[in-house]
């Protein structure tokens, strides 16, 4: 299969994260129609029931809306999409910060490290 999944987490959650990322990156635009359950299942090589679960979860998070008889659409509610965007950022920062702390870096070292990194990147 083209898609690889980790064993540590249910596949539906991995797919929810993957689709959230696509939406945050604007690979999928607000108002876009998501592919059908069957097409997504074939594309990811997973059980169609897993895709149903993914859609339910995305709907619960307010990222997609189901329109009767038409399928699932990415919400056009930008406020909701920004919430997801912020959440994704916070998740990454939490993971990064925890790892840095574990390695023994202080708050100041972390901040100046990130600032230096961004500055150097811009300079290149």
């Amino acid at each position: 299969m083209a898609e690889q999944f980790s064993n540590a987490q249910p596949i539906y959650l991995q797919l929810v994260q993957r689709i959230c990322r696509q939406i945050v990156r604007r690979e999928v635009q607000p108002g876009d129609k998501l592919p059908s359950v069957r097409d997504l299942a074939v594309q990811f090589g997973v059980n169609p029931n897993t895709i149903q679960r993914v859609n339910m979860e995305l709907e619960r998070m307010g990222i997609v809306e189901s329109r009767r008889g038409q399928g699932m659409f990415v919400t056009e509610d930008t406020k909701q999409l920004n919430i997801i965007r912020d959440q994704l950022r916070d998740e990454h920062i939490t993971r990064f910060t925890n790892e840095m702390r574990e390695l023994g870096y202080t708050e100041e070292e972390i901040i100046s490290g990130v600032q230096n990194f961004l500055r150097n990147e811009k300079g290149q």
Partner: protein, 239 residues
Amino acid sequence: MVTQMIADDSMVTFENVGKKFQRKSAVKDVSFTIPKGEIIGIIGTNGSGKSTILKLMAGLLKPTQGRIFVDGKAAQRLTTQYVAFLPEQDVYYSEHTIGQTLRFYSQMYSDFDLGKALELIEEFKLQLEQKVSVLSKGNRARLKIVLALSRDVPLIIMDEPLSGLDPLVRESIIRSLISSVDMEKQTVVLTTHEVNEVEPLLDRAMLIRNGEVLGYESIEQIQSERGIGLVDWMRTLLA
């Protein structure tokens, strides 16, 4: 008087089922329920009793003890009328062409969907005029899959549909299975050794050893509660 209560949402029920061949027990006092609309993978080493369980389910073998219900009815020879069974061995006349094989199946089973079969034949790039006897192993396996998936039946049983095939053929078979099964109306039970590959496909896994059910759990539960994959689950239970 109601003597048995078979839940409406169960496709297959085994009640204390045992099967002996001469004096050897192949299946020992096995009980489980398979819900409708799921894909179930039965795993276990060779000779563990997986195939016997499938044949009992399809009504091709009679249990020595216990009872089996398929879609609410007792399993028996006629069960094959509403169950598609893909055996490990080849099943068609090798002198037939693929087209003749499809025609034969559509005459044998009134639920055989010829249109769907032709679509799958095209998807697999098989030729209708090809003789079955000259097909490669991979294409014979594909033809078997076509025959099983083209039946409009509530239960599809497949014995080792992926065994002995190269990774690309396995992948194309898994994909066509996903695209052609109607999960609102159909339930799939398959045996396999390709545990890693089928993991994303399954709702539930059943581990068999020495004719007994060692474990039967939903994949999601295995992943979320134990934080492990199917192979590790198997390893833990067999340890």
